[in-house]
Homo-oligomer: 640 residues x 2
């Protein structure tokens, strides 16, 4: 049987014995080697490039590999079959969407600010009270031959006296109880959680213990998973980090993931990818960084879109993508965290923020909670630019929501050199109108060379190319120069970094297919905004405020975003970028039962609009697939 | 390093490499070889006899091994250390208390009768209603583009309409929901359990499914564990079986077990012995016999004494045995079965019957529920002859309870040839007054030869020996004959089966130490009865009924039991033997929430009397250590 040697980023070699005819992609998946497959391995996205450095394998030319690269051994892992012994180099870019866990620097004041802000805003709105987990120090009289109450009754009686409510001892606490009480002379600290009818004593320990009582707020994005480790008593942020969602191996978008999950063993494969390969390492990293023992995590709140929450729980998700588009749940009951995510406190509870429809999920209800749009009387817009775009239009009076199939362009997906906002990602771009030379900001150390473009870098690039007349309103190249190149099929591209300037020796560029994908994405967002407004007989000018959320990278350059027609042409002061609002909302729900009740209420009160059913949808969309828009009157401030 | 070859009952050989100086007992424990150690391995009980058949080992003579046997290689495993390669024969009797799982023959009408009786009695008492687990068949309209309710809301709404109460979908059911609904055209059967405030949907399946919904009633005795597999919808008994409690390796009585559990790793060792080595194989056997998949078990009720319930849950039990004798719990909240016993339905709940004190536990509250003494106005007595003896005296007006440290004699413990009521146990004995020749009834097939004596056989033997004048009122041998033998220390014994008549070539006999142990056990029971009565200013003649429970073997011969003064000398019609009432009670609590509430109420209403604190206790006890009693007036019917 042939042997495949995977050489991973020149650091590691993994040898696997396989059958003749197996796909490199499948072998890698089965061997725990990460190769992204945004298209789910259909040969259409071109992201799974690997290099055959020794031996040979069966493959065919593809438009994703230039003749030169093909000659150098570059192949798509999903289209290459083993014929004999072969050595395969897996470049870092093959797992660009996944690579590494990135933790935030808590000394950076903006990192904490997002959490402080949401806490203050929700406090002001009156929904940050009733802590979900709290502690209580109690002292009991030790038992005697005259006072033979058992330990459980003794502690439950003392807790009731302390908090004025019935308390039920959990099995975990019961298992420790006798010893803890006697070691600490019946003077202990209890960790409590309040449920609907009763308080549960989750844990019991020495009253002298100052161990932090922690919780996790998690945003599971289709592309990126972000988590915050939080002190449940103070709300203090202890660590924050993100990782690529390892499900990316099975498709970049929710549809491909659902299809993969429907295959034999797929549900378990996708569940493991997000749980075992993404969440558990990420949580482990956060705990190590904050010097927290994982058993100190007593609660988690997870926000994710409808598909992510279904795949997380291991549910059959096909009905989500197939007419009449019915999720298994909108709101699900609090569950035991251990049933979903192992290794944390055995009595910890998990709450998921509610879904509203198949394509408006818990990330949106969570983000909506955080942005407090529902607490003001004026008409406002909340937009989450994730792997899909979701919109909430409303006020304290009403809430409409819709999803627009923008695709993953805003997170760097569907773009040939796109990547997550992680080390090597170009996050800001300026292009000199005369020379067409770019100035790049790159995530990472000062010497970091570029690897690709993340969302904010793509917006900047498109806006700058358009503003400089380098591309037309249709996204076609209109000027010539050193930075403009064409492939053998005549497709143009703008080079942001030449081979010798990039981190991996591959040029970083944006081509006409990328521009087309991006323009359709932004067209979907803009047309959705317009349709939602018009359904209510309103115009963009009626909007008081527009809040944009998403893991876009270095924030959004709003003048650029308006120049290319993503958002309506309104005064800049109406716009604000609020970062990962899904995580901020999850943070609030984690801490406060009032916030948890509020997010459930918001989920119930939102009216889900299926845009594709709306008359005129297709016309609006087509009109918006133009820079900034076919109807120039909508963008008076943009010089064309 | 020396090699120990264990030859087990001539069927199996297990080779282990060990360190010089290790005890045979410890090596066996670490190798999964069962050798009973009722005394916890202190060399005092003599039950752990093994035979060195090749090689040698370091040991000393002991009163438990005759010189002849010592010469033949017989040793106590707990007192023998390895010095070099050695072959050790482990006889069947070495695990006499554990040996095998015994399932009941459901064609035997008496097997079902115990369960039918308790169900009828509790129905008559009005506490058999409100089923704990039930099913409900529902039909829903499938979703459409106009009716886009999610699956969870749809089924919860339908169940609420069907049963008139809120229902919460469990995670397990949620994980199956989308597929089950669509495979079965939204016509399904739900498995439900009713909790305090709400109904839980534990499972959902095809409406066509006729799969039985099952539950387990379990009695965890110190010596024997008995379980009944039950159809939760009909109450039908599907299988019943028992096994020795594998904790016997760590001591015959609760005190030795608690001491062992306090040693390093002991809690886990004892928990595993009862869970992994006893309950799981027993449940597996019952399920195979009834052709039930273990995931069909949706609820369990376990009744056990205070120590057994603590060790089952893995609790620190030292305070149970040490002044002021405080258990971790009397009543504990319903818990998830999976947290205690794995492999059954993941949403199944476990309920334990309540403890009343350190030495009156859930087996007694459960048995009390079953015997319905609490439902009648007359003064009655309920006695559980288990490894300890527990007594409840009362009526519908009041309930007093106490434990008497009778020791395990009634279950065959503390008796040199004692064994559990399983194959080879002598369960009935008649002794000819003239010839002193015995007639034996032996558990097992017709050709089964005797191995030892179980509780009912011991009672019969003592009574017959006493009645025939073979032993004195103090339990000393008073006649001579072929059946009476003496050892080198002059201790007499009565031989029930000579070497060539027994199953394993060892004589089955009862000696003066056994008689002494037994007389002290029966003295403890009788004196406790008398003290309890006198505390209320009553006499035995005030008793209307006496119900005896316990795993005594072939029931109790009441004339014999009265002859030797275990019970008061009252008309025989006042006595009844009700078998394993702890299991019957657990069966009722398993099925009915009313029964579960009743047993909690009984637990709360029982007054626990610590007999050893009572004045006159010691005098009463000493007076009762005589056949039938020092005060012959108490036993007018017994001819002495």
């Amino acid at each position: 049987m042939p042997k495949v040697s995977f050489r991973i980023s020149e650091k590691e070699t993994i040898d696997v014995t396989v059958e003749i005819g197996e796909r490199i992609m499948d072998i890698a998946r089965n061997s725990g080697i990460y190769i992204d497959a945004p298209c789910s391995g259909n040969g259409t996205c071109g992201k799974c490039r690997v290099q055959i450095v020794d031996g040979d394998a069966e493959s065919h030319p593809t438009r994703h590999i230039t003749d030169e690269d093909y000659a150098a051994g570059w192949r798509l892992a999903c289209e290459t079959k083993v014929t004999g012994d072969v050595t395969v180099l897996v470049p870092e870019t093959a797992s660009a969407f996944r690579t590494g866990i990135r933790t935030a620097d808590l000394n950076d004041p903006t990192v904490r600010a997002a959490f402080d802000d949401v806490q203050n805003d929700l406090k002001a709105a009156g929904v940050m009270g009733d802590p979900a987990v709290f502690t209580c120090e109690i002292t009991m009289d030790p038992p005697t031959l005259e006072d033979t109450l058992c330990d459980t009754d003794r502690i439950e009686r003392a807790v009731k006296a302390a908090i004025g409510q019935e308390a039920k001892l959990s099995l975990y606490a019961l298992r420790k109880l006798a010893q803890v009480l006697r070691e600490d002379d019946f003077h202990v600290r209890c960790v409590l959680s309040r449920d609907e009818d009763c308080v549960h004593i989750l844990d019991v320990g020495s009253a002298k213990s100052k161990r932090k009582i922690c919780g996790l707020a998690i945003d599971i994005g289709t592309t990126t998973v972000t988590a915050a480790l939080v002190d449940m008593e103070t709300g203090e942020l202890l660590a924050r980090g993100s990782a690529g969602n390892a499900q990316i191996r099975y498709g970049a978008d929710v549809i491909n993931r659902i299809i993969e999950s429907g295959r034999d063993g797929g549900r378990e494969r996708l569940r493991r990818a997000v749980v075992d390969e993404t969440l558990i390492p990420l949580i482990g990293t956060l705990c190590r960084k904050a010097k927290i023992y994982q058993k100190q995590i007593y609660r988690a709140c997870i926000a994710g879109n409808t598909t992510m929450s279904h795949l997380l729980l291991g549910l059959y998700a096909d009905p989500v993508r197939m007419e009449p588009f019915i999720p298994s749940f909108f709101q699900c009951h609090e569950m035991r965290l251990n049933d979903v995510l192992s290794g944390l406190h055995p009595e910890a509870k998990l709450v998921l923020t509610p879904n509203v429809g198949s394509y408006v999920g818990g990330d949106i209800t969570s983000g909506l909670l955080a942005c407090t749009l529902w607490n003001r009387d004026e008409l406002e817009l909340f937009i989450d630019l994730g792997t899909n775009g979701e919109i909430v239009l409303g006020s304290s009076e009403f809430l409409f929501t819709c999803a627009c199939s923008a695709g993953p362009a805003f997170e760097g997906g569907d773009i040939s050199c796109g990547m997550r906002a992680t080390n090597g990602a170009i996050e800001k771009v300026r292009i000199d109108k005369e020379t067409m030379e770019p100035t790049l900001s790159i995530i990472g150390s000062k010497s970091q060379k570029p690897l690709g473009l993340c969302g904010s870098g793509i917006i900047d690039t498109v806006a700058e190319l358009f503003r400089g007349g380098i591309i037309s309103a249709k996204g076609k190249f209109a000027r010539e120069g050193e930075r403009i190149r064409y492939d053998e099929h005549g497709m143009g591209r703008y080079v942001l970094a030449f081979e010798d300037q990039s981190a991996d020796g591959r040029e970083v560029s944006i081509n006409e297919v990328d521009l087309d994908n991006f323009i359709r994405a932004k067209g979907a967002i803009f047309s959705a905004i317009l349709l939602m407004l018009r359904q209510l007989g309103m115009e963009p000018s009626d909007l008081t405020r527009i809040q944009i959320a998403g893991g876009i990278g270095g924030g959004i350059d709003f003048p650029n975003a308006i120049t290319i027609g993503i958002f309506p042409d309104l005064p800049l002061e109406k716009f604000s970028y609020i970062g990962n609002s899904s995580l901020s909302g999850a943070y609030a729900v984690l801490l406060s039962r009032e916030a948890a009740a509020k997010v459930r209420e918001l989920g119930s009160n939102m009216t889900y609009v299926e845009l594709s059913n709306e008359p005129g949808y297709m016309d609006e969309f087509v009109s918006a697939c133009f820079l900034p828009h076919t109807n120039a009157e909508l963008f008076p401030s943009v010089e064309v």
